[in-house]
């Protein structure tokens, strides 16, 4: 047991941090199934394009750059966690802000991509391909947006000097969520983009 955990126990409270972390892993495991079912649906409908555009409108070069940005955000996130565990509040704040910035850049790219596709005639209602594509990538984008909000909340707590209060969310749990968003995109990038070229 760590000294912090021992202090918590000595104060008459149970140390719930390991339970929170395990709960996060359970949540992420269930999220695998959530995205798995949507990826299966996309694979089923990837050729059902009706009269609308199909996978040929996907811009691999652009999405590769977006993927690289999200991948690098995992690096900045793990560096934030490293700074956090070393009680380096300034370093944690810098790397968390960098992660939030990269996440926002990824989201901006997704908004641009969706706008282009809609202009080219691919909407949620155009075809089963369109529905499956927007549902899968849109839900992933929503997860990224939630992650960015959690990162900004962590930055706020850091500025406010409450980063180490350790109530509810902490940098480690937000980090796990963020990396998960990245690994889901690794699969989506392969299945939705690269395998359709």
């Amino acid at each position: 047991m760590s000294s912090e955990a021992a202090a918590v126990e000595a104060a008459g409270h149970h140390d719930v941090r390991p339970i929170r972390k395990t709960a996060m892993w359970v949540f992420l495991g269930s999220e695998c199934m959530f995205f798995g079912s949507m990826i299966a649906t996309f694979l089923l409908y990837r050729n059902t394009t009706g009269d609308g555009p199909g996978a040929d409108i996907l811009n691999i070069s652009f999405t590769s750059a977006s993927s690289f940005i999200l991948l690098m955000s995992s690096l900045t996130m793990v560096l934030a966690h490293h700074a956090f565990t070393n009680r380096d509040a300034r370093g944690t704040r810098i790397w968390l802000s960098a992660t939030a910035l990269l996440g926002t850049t990824f989201l901006a790219g997704q908004v641009f991509e969706f706008t282009e596709f809609i202009r080219e005639g691919l909407t949620l209602r155009t075809s089963s391909f369109g529905s499956a594509f927007y549902m899968l990538t849109g839900f992933h984008g929503a997860h990224v947006a939630i992650g960015v909000m959690m990162l900004l909340a962590m930055v706020y707590l850091s500025v406010d000097g409450r980063l180490y209060d350790d109530r509810g969310l902490n940098v480690e749990l937000v980090g796990l969520y963020w990396h998960f968003v990245d690994i889901v995109w690794i699969v989506i990038f392969t299945v939705v983009y690269l395998l359709q070229v």
């Binding site: 691999i60 070069s61 990396h179």
Partner: protein, 97 residues
Amino acid sequence: MAEATNRAHPTPRVYWAIALFLAAITAMEVTVPNVDALAPAKVPLLWALGAIKFFIVVAFFMHLRYDKKLNRTLFLFGVIGVFPLFIVVLLSLHAFG
């Protein structure tokens, strides 16, 4: 994470090296569909490269390699559970009909 860790986590230098490796794999992924000679092996190659990236991020960036067995089991249950779920979804949507 300290309470659940048996081994020391990597240093920032190792994290940067891992990120460079992941970037290199991404570059390979983008190249594979454009190389005619690799066309017959395109699908398994892309799945393999994606899987390598997936497990490197999970093991080193998410620190699952250093985590409690319970957490590893719970997450891997979700990952492995995707495959029967794939079958169920495809069956319910009459993919094999």
